[in-house]
């Protein structure tokens, strides 16, 4: 009987909170708030906050055309696999003191799991056979390479700080990082973690592929790049994945730097997490979107491997020598 109950409980985690339903609602709301904020910063009214929901359902109502030169199975399955992988990543990130499955995965695993949605977009685009998709996947891959080094440095800096406090050397487990912050206060209050936090804020738009790092799906240059041949429901799933990725990365930031005791009530913790994600989206995604022009792909690479990596490296060195 208890097995049935815990199986149902885990199924609830996967499907409702912090799984599929939470990701869907929260991710789309974040996306809508982002568009609204950008519009306000550009002194216009902007679309309603629920606009991404309208976009998604509209796309579900469109006809899906599979181009003749595409392989149908990959074309249709790739978006679903990417979505499933993103939901799984979200399950591994603790919500303050509540962790659904986060004892199971550490940050290195999440680092690798984040590659799966990116691979699903790349393979979906490659499967369509369009030359725009070819250029798009090349740029997407270079963007991923660019974001990987600073992300690794940030994670190592956090791991060393928490690990030296706990005495285990390097601590990659997210639940341990959450427990540490519950006891000693959020990591962002440490001066040595500030450069890493700034670096992570800059990594977020790069990982999600938001402006100004969206060379991979530049509408005006390469006709939407990887998604050029997608239409209808698969396209809707990709847009949904994009929105959920925003949620995942901002909640990862919260888990790493803004963790703490929380209120103890899961529902309230979820709402606080969402509000923090909104603030982070405003700062790292909307603000940067509104004030910049699109960077070229080699500029993206140089930016991440010099400036952002430099910031993260400062934090890592400070953490290593115990400052």
């Amino acid at each position: 009987m208890t097995i049935v109950i815990s199986a149902l409980q885990y199924l609830g985690y996967v499907l409702i909170f912090p799984g599929f339903l939470f990701c869907f609602l929260a991710g789309m709301l974040l996306c809508g708030i982002d568009r609204k904020l950008v519009a306000k910063m550009q002194k216009r009214v902007g679309p309603p906050v629920l606009q991404p929901f309208y976009d998604f359902f509209k796309l579900c109502g469109k006809e899906t055309i599979v181009p003749a030169s595409a392989s149908k199975t990959t074309f249709l399955m790739a978006p679903l696999v990417g979505l499933a992988a993103l939901v799984v990543i979200q399950l591994f990130i603790p919500v303050f003191s509540f962790s659904a499955f986060s004892g199971m995965a550490d940050v290195i695993v999440i680092l690798y799991l984040l590659l799966i949605p990116a691979m699903s977009v790349i393979l979906g685009g490659a499967a369509s056979g369009s030359p725009y998709a070819g250029v798009g996947l090349s740029r997407e891959m270079v963007t991923i390479i660019s974001c990987e080094l600073p992300l690794v440095l940030v994670l190592l800096a956090v791991a060393k700080t928490v690990g030296s406090a706990l005495g285990t050397g390097l601590c990659f487990s997210l639940s341990d990082i959450a427990a540490y912050q519950a006891m000693h206060g959020s990591l962002i209050t440490k001066i040595s973690m500030l450069p890493a936090a700034v670096a992570m804020l800059l990594i977020i738009p790069g990982e999600t592929g938001n402006h100004p790092f969206d060379a991979a799906e530049a509408e005006t240059e390469i006709c939407e790049g990887l998604l050029a041949e997608y239409s209808g429901a698969p396209l809707g799933v990709y847009k949904l994945s994009h929105a959920i990725k925003m949620l995942t990365l901002t909640s990862l930031f919260v888990a790493l730097f803004l963790g703490g005791l929380g209120t103890g009530f899961v529902a309230l913790d979820g709402i606080i997490l969402f509000l923090l994600c909104v603030v982070l989206t405003a700062v790292s995604i909307s603000f940067v979107h509104a004030i910049t022009a699109r960077l070229k792909i080699e500029q993206i690479f140089k930016f991440y491997w010099t400036l952002v990596s430099g910031l993260a490296l400062i934090s890592l060195v400070l953490a290593w020598y115990g400052l």
Binding site: R35, A39, Q42, K43, R44, V45, G46, P47, P48, Q51, F53, Y54, D55, F56, F57, K58, C60, G61, K62, E63, T64, I65, Y132, A218, E219, T220, I222, C223, E224, L227, A228, E229, Y230, S231, G232, L235
Partner: protein, 147 residues
């Protein structure tokens, strides 16, 4: 169960694809300015898409020249259903001053079914928004009639 929701959403999130069929660019500039902060068509959900596969409404400007005709038709055929074709300006509607020229292939309605004509040379942005809103209504009806 979701049919009503989908139909409602179809009217709230129309994505545009713009084709220049030999236009003098006046209407194109007016279309882009409709999407800018002063007139802000994005509050109605309009977005410029980069690929016809992402589009719902196709906006065609310019008298359809003989050279651009096959390309226009090919791009329009690649737009998934339900779709709505809007001609902007009087050039695609009647040819305007270019009517009868050796290089103009005639009004667009000779080749595809046009849903909305926005007249003017160039039409005012308010007229463009009006025409696009009407196209959105037609789009909703088409979605309702689909299987």
């Amino acid at each position: 169960m979701f049919k009503k929701l989908i139909q409602e959403s179809m009217g709230k999130s129309p994505w545009l694809f713009h084709i220049n069929a030999g236009s003098c660019n006046g209407c194109d500039i007016e279309l882009v300015s409709v999407l800018t902060p002063r007139y802000d068509a994005e509050r109605l959900g309009f977005k410029l898409a980069g690929s016809p596969r992402h589009a719902d409404i196709v906006v065609v400007t310019g008298p359809v020249t003989k050279q651009s005709l096959p390309r226009v038709l090919r791009a329009i055929s690649q737009v998934p259903e339900p779709r709505c074709i809007v001609t902007m300006g009087s050039c695609p509607q009647s040819g305007n001053v270019f009517r009868g020229s050796y290089s103009v292939a005639g009004p667009l309605s000779k080749y595809v079914h046009v849903d909305v004509d926005v007249a003017g040379c160039a039409p005012k942005p308010e007229a463009v928004i009006d025409g696009l809103a009407l196209a959105t209504q037609i789009l909703k009806e088409k979605r309702g009639q689909m299987k």
